[in-house]
Amino acid sequence: MNKKTLAVKCLKAAFVGLVLLVLYTPILLLAVYSFDKTDMIGRFEGFSLRHYAALFADAKVLGMIGKTFLLAFVAATLSTVLGTAGALGMFYCKKRVRTAIHGVSQIPIINAEIVTALALAILFVVIGVGKSYFTLVIGHMVICTPFVVLSVMPKLKQMDNSLYEAALDLGASPMKALFRVVLPQIIPGVISGFMLAVTLSLDDYIVTVYTRPAGFETISTYVYNATMKGNAHTAQTLSSFWALTTIIFLVIVLFVVLSNLSGIRRKEARK
């Protein structure tokens, strides 16, 4: 390798590395100072777990976190069932019907979230449904389900269709064939659809604000309110968010590493 290509290579690596560095700096900054004694970022005064202690001692914050995850689980489960069934049905429909449903299904994906949220909120008022947990779940389902459909669809296209026919020939009922033959083939798409729905629901701020019942807080709305209207919250609340960010980040890293390891093992097993 001559000097020029080596220099180009280094330059490329440096660029990618720099972007990654900027991407991770804010998160790592919080991760480091979440172990600091003080509520100040900038000078590390000494190791302490008090921000974590504060996070786990605050019943209100813990309850809010629990509710956020429960909501994500409920919305993602319902979205996965609805979206998987929808994708299956669409796959077997006539092309015209499939294109129509698929087109409408893409609206919440490309649309600005605020437009989806406003439209839903006005609809609920017009039909006289008060905001409740039900409307909140519907709101989250509207943003999650299209993504489930999107991750199931490619698996359906890759599927070997003759297996379903074979199951019917061998005497399975259509229902049974669907559950025992089709579903196992598309399950990777269903799982990634579910995971996607969970992350979308956990992340959401805008749709939550427009469809939630009074007093319901998720991580997004709670953190937003605490930083925007700092009066009711102490510096302690804000620094307990550092601990929360760090915990979530570590869980994600762990999850990514584990799922990759199992992915590599699966690939090796296939060999």
Binding site: V19, A112, L150, T199, M228
Partner: protein, 268 residues
Amino acid sequence: MKLHFSRKMLCIPYAVFLVFFVIIPMLVILFYAFTDKELHLSFSNFIRFFSDPTKLSTIVYSLVIALITTVACLLIAYPVAYILARSKIKKKYVIVLLFVTPMWINFVLRVNAIRELFNLLSAQRGMEWLAGSNYFKTVFGMVYDFLPFMVLPLYTTLLKIDQSLYEASADLGAGAFTTFTRVTIPLSMPGIMSGVTMVFLPSMTNYVVSDMLGNAKVTIVGKFIYEYFGTDWHMGSMVALVLLVVVFLSTWLSGGFKAEDTVRGANL
């Protein structure tokens, strides 16, 4: 009459769901946008919207912010995606994964992290200017948050380009620059379009970033709609409708939308 189960019927619940919670809400917005307080047909919202200079200037500001964010994302993401897609190192998907991972942290917590970083930086000597630079902080936050949305579609389209096309281009006498402008860019156009759509719209409407980083001094179109929701639905619906039309026009003009690119690397 006994109703026989058919596989097609599985899409009925989803179709009903879409009609009730996607199509009808859009029609409701359309209705409210073109009616007045007594629910009579009226174009007054439309006229009021396009004749108010403060509204129009907010929209122009918002458009400029979104434009700068999108261009910045493209300028950063394209080289990254290009380098990664053409790199021959093993396990490069791990590096791609590194770009996606921050997206899985709660959005508001992520914005909060940037906020803390800016607070720290603006307390440093010589960096005091940062405290008042609300527009700069907003744009930085948006680029930071939406960058992965640009990297992913670009990476997947660039990865699909056949290596032999680069060789053919070189064999036919094209230099590196010509190959890039005549082969790479045209072939990666679908990825560019997806990325642009996915960055531009949120940076016009996601007011969480502009509120938290711009000290609530930066108003973007999304905040507009939020403010009108409390006071005037008709006007709010009109703004939402304008956004909706922009979305459909840009999707149509860019020749369709590759929805597969939006799945946040779930299929990576």
